[in-house]
Amino acid sequence: MTTTEMTDPTTAQENAQRDKSDRQRTFWHKTTPYWFMSPYIIIFGTFGIFPVLFMIYLSFHTWNPVAGLGTMEYVGLENYVLSLTDPTLWQTLWNTFLMALYSGVPQHLVALPLAYLLVQLGKRARHWLTTAYFLPYVTSTIAISMIFFVMFSKESGIINQALMGLANGSLTGWAFGWLNDVMPLGWVQENSLIRYSVSFVVFWKYVGFNIVIYTAGLATISDELYEAAIIDGANSWQRFTRIALPLLRPFIFFAVTLTIIGNMNLFDEPYVLTRGLQQASTNGMTISNYLYRVAWEWLDMGSAAAISWILFMVIGLFTGLYFWFFGRRGLGGE
């Protein structure tokens, strides 16, 4: 570019225009990633970050949502004090813990051997069986809980009817006759049974998911290892405990972590099985159910916010402790 051209007014104008479009282009170029990220930034800001910050703020206030935002009042730590001294909170926390245990432990104890048996089969058989086992995971917890609610029914449910059949059958009566004294069992009516009933449904729904994880894990173990063990004279039980289990450790660790997090958040199953709050709710209510009740039935949003944080802390504590005890060994394989 020569100086004479620079002084030419028309060319200067053109240059200015080119500059402008260049600048525009670099602006678009520089901001492109942010345009692509904008859905996340906007939606997560609205439904993710703001809520969490607001929850902190809300937990120090009392607020009735029906009466409007103006009724919000600063109460300091009162919500936390009230919640922590609320026996129902501790009761529901204990329920959540027990049901997590009752449904979680059998899940893995059943899924592991079943997965081990599954991988001994041919591809076709394995595929069909896995498809069947995984089915409950695909269906909605509400639908499943409704079905089980009917199955658990005191007077006519299939479970009580089957137990009655066992108790009065000519072949099985001697072993199950004692059931006649306790029948009919109120699986979803009685406080003493509700935890087992809820846990059973949870167990039933998630066992297939764990089977799939464990079959995938077992598929990563090479046949040569098993063959070498057979040559060394290991029987199938030894092959399971000495080869499969140790090599599955990272998978077990991961699956158990998912179970802990999922079970601490349990809501749908007990919500349906305890008929939303009327019966058997003392022992069957989880902390999530209680939180829903405090917030939407008692309309005490401030306390509910405090309970949310307590729940968050508890889940964090449990996962933290679990990682502390098992994490290093659990992730050792990776």
Partner: protein, 288 residues
């Protein structure tokens, strides 16, 4: 001990093997019956009314109340309205999430930009946040921006599923060659054009996985609709089924029919594409 002849020993080994196999199949098939039974039982109950259902004794015969139960079902709830609502929530939510998650996943995989690490870290953290924790502020935000009792409120927050973004990012890194992106740039394609006509077609398997995860989640979701959707013409099917549970003299046969129909769409899709659905729904857990 008497020593066995080789033939006897072979026979014994064979018998032990057979016995083992029989035990193996017994265990596996018992588990299948155990898994499938509740579904079949709900279908069986759909053919009974209260009188035959509450008759004592184990009753495994088909009833003749199927049609009557269907009419009862339509009496107690707007069943097909609920089914349609669930379907529209799940479909809109899935399509939007495919767009949003692929945009974000593409950006995180391809561009270097300020704040990338922060955004990525936030995504990972938000995956660990228990859903119940954000339920109250979610409800308030929805009310504040005037979305209460709308379907948008139920699917929009999930359209940026961090798991989905993460999944797509991994897919872009693994299956979109860097050279291809360079070539598109040299040809003068804009970033958006590159994303739309070069990257998206390559992401099809990842998008299919994400679609499965989202659709199943949205169809089965209960918690968010429960607090947001209040009028019966907006309710999704899970909510409707649950809401008639407390009705006195609940027509359980009709309700079982409704429950069975409500799980049928997903079960049918599952029958047709079980492999894809299993690997999709466990893709967060199992590395392929």
């Amino acid at each position: 001990m008497k020593t066995l002849t080789p033939v006897q020993k072979e026979n014994l080994d064979g018998m032990v093997k057979m016995l083992g196999k029989a035990l193996l199949w017994t265990a596996l098939l018992t588990a299948v019956v155990f898994t499938v039974f509740p579904f079949l039982w709900s279908l069986l109950m759909a053919t009974h009314d209260r009188t035959t259902m509450f008759s004592s004794g184990l009753n495994l015969a088909l009833g003749d109340q199927l049609v009557a139960n269907y009419h009862r079902l339509l009496d107690i709830m707007d069943f097909w309205v609920g089914m349609f609502n669930s379907f529209s929530v799940a479909l809109l939510g899935t399509v939007t999430s495919l767009l949003f998650c692929s945009m974000c996943g593409y950006a995180l995989a391809v561009f270097e930009f300020r704040g990338r690490k922060v955004l990525f870290g936030m995504m990972i953290c938000s995956m660990m946040l228990p859903p119940i924790l954000t339920l109250i502020p979610y409800y308030m935000v929805i009310n504040a921006i005037g979305l209460s009792n709308t379907h948008l409120a139920v699917w929009l927050p999930f359209s940026i599923n961090p798991f989905g973004i993460f999944l797509i990012r991994q897919y872009v890194v693994a299956s979109v060659p860097k050279d291809l992106l360079e070539a598109a740039k040299l040809d003068g394609a804009s970033a958006f054009r590159t994303y739309w006509s070069v990257v998206l077609p390559l992401l099809r398997p990842g998008l299919a996985t994400l679609a499965i995860v989202q659709f199943v989640f949205l169809w089965n979701n209960f918690l968010q609709p429960l607090v947001v959707l209040t009028s019966s013409d907006k309710m999704v099917i899970t909510q409707m089924l649950r809401s008639v549970q407390g009705v006195p003299n609940t027509p359980w046969g009709a309700l079982m029919l409704g429950t069975f129909i409500s799980i049928l769409p997903l079960v049918l899709i599952y029958m047709a594409a079980s492999k894809q659905m299993i690997s999709g729904l466990t893709s967060g857990a199992v590395k392929n």
